[in-house]
């Protein structure tokens, strides 16, 4: 029985967010099961399901290599730039 990852949109205007997974024979049954399992208390108004095997994840062992380089790039942030106090918010 294939595994499906489930994404729910909590409210119109927001992104779908991953909430968990479930097993179902096909896409339609996966959506129905996701409705039953994940939206019993008005958790959302839209569901996406994606076959778990179709999701490609980054390698946890490469987390440092992937994400640490952004750590010392302070010049990507507004506070790195000095402007006169009188200007106020910019």
């Amino acid at each position: 029985m294939p595994l499906w990852e489930v994404f729910i949109r909590p409210r119109t205007g927001l992104n779908h967010k991953h909430v968990g997974s479930l097993h179902a024979a096909d896409a339609q049954m996966a959506v129905q099961a996701a409705r039953d399992v994940y939206t019993r208390r008005e958790e959302g108004n839209s569901i996406w399901v994606v076959r778990a095997e179709q999701i490609v994840a980054s390698d946890p062992d490469l987390a440092a290599e992937n994400f640490d380089p952004a750590g010392d790039k302070v010049y990507r942030h507004p506070s790195f730039y000095d402007i006169p106090d009188e200007v106020g918010h910019m």
């Binding site: 119109t12 095997e53 790039k73 010049y75 942030h77 507004p78 790195f80 730039y81 006169p84 200007v87």
Partner: protein, 331 residues
């Protein structure tokens, strides 16, 4: 059943008066419209036009600044400029992806840019002959863009609004680095100050033109306001920009190139600057393709696309060769 899945799908809606009324009621109650929701064809077309023009502007906008990366005067300025141009590329991609949720393909949008059919912001059809132009672009062009973009974070179309939230968050450094750059030139010698003033003289009016035609002449404004795609009119945003920017110029000793500019205590009830008439002939000339850099910008984009063809082909060939049946997604 989202972005890619919608491409080429039948997105026609039955536009009965009841349907249009219910759609407007949804908009009026501040509910977002999402990709799979029924929407009037004109709402869809307006958004495709607007979001794709916005995406093209981000991509073409990389060119005038990219021009200066190798000639930035210090390493500090160079990393800032690199980071900024990299952001513009990313913003273009967020926006293309929002446009794709409306049922157009990336290839189609790219073709429309390269063939000259699609428009992008005319501001990028002005040249950047001096280093001070990099400061002027950050301070004025990004400043004007922010005025436009902040209200778009509340746009009625969900995917566009969410893309704009990301863009605005990242945009805040762009204006500050530009103003810092101009400020440091104004603290320099006579030549450096003259260079900053010259850049302001050339960029001021085109920056005001970025807000588009005057409200009396704008063909798209009323319907876009009713659909809450836009929240302020062109002239309202232009006025906000002038009122915010004039004191910033004066503070560092710059003079705005407008003899008619003066504070008016009673403007719009709360005070604001009166300013001179925009040269609308110049505006339309550049929109219609006759600005100083229109031909160069398109030529540069076409060359980049053609030069990248072998990379796209090689990547697909590599993916096909290494595909296993389970992950044979490329087609």
């Amino acid at each position: 059943m989202y972005s890619q899945g919608l491409i080429g799908a039948d997105t026609q809606t039955h536009e009965t008066p009841e349907f249009l009324e219910a759609f407007q009621a949804k908009i009026d109650s501040e509910q977002k419209i999402e990709a799979n929701d029924p929407m009037p064809q004109a709402y869809r077309n307006t958004l495709i036009r607007m979001i794709s023009q916005h995406a093209h502007s981000e991509i073409v906008g990389m060119l005038p600044e990219g021009n200066w990366i190798t000639r930035a005067p210090t390493l500090r300025r160079k990393v800032a400029l690199l980071a900024k141009v990299q952001d513009e590329g990313g913003h273009g991609l967020y926006l293309y992806s929002a446009a794709e949720t409306l049922g157009v393909s990336r290839e189609q949008l790219t073709d429309e840019l390269l063939s000259g059919k699609a428009k992008y912001s005319s501001i990028f059809n002005y040249p950047t002959p001096t280093w001070a132009d990099i400061g002027a672009i950050g301070w004025l062009v990004d400043g004007a863009a922010i005025m436009n973009q902040v209200p778009l974070c509340r746009c009625s179309y969900g995917p566009y609004a969410r893309a704009m939230i990301r863009v605005c968050k990242e945009e805040s450094f762009h204006q500050r680095q530009g103003y810092e750059l101009i400020t440091s030139l104004m603290q320099g010698n006579d030549q450096q100050q003259a260079m900053a003033q010259d850049a302001l003289n050339r960029w001021w009016w085109p920056s005001l033109m970025m807000f588009g035609p005057s409200d009396t002449d704008s063909q798209h404004s009323d319907q876009s306001m009713a659909w809450k795609i836009k929240r302020f009119t062109n002239d309202e945003l232009r006025q906000k920009f002038v009122d915010a920017t004039v004191p910033q110029a004066e503070l560092i000793g710059l003079t705005l190139p407008d003899p008619d500019l003066r504070w008016n205590d009673t403007k719009n009830g709360e005070g604001g600057y009166d300013f001179g008439e925009i040269d609308w002939d110049e505006f339309w000339r550049v929109v219609k393709g006759h600005g100083m850099m229109n031909k160069d910008r398109l030529a540069a984009r076409r060359k980049a696309h053609a030069d990248g063809a072998w990379v796209r082909e090689a990547a697909l060939a590599h993916a096909a060769r290494h595909a296993t049946p389970d992950v044979a997604l490329a087609s």
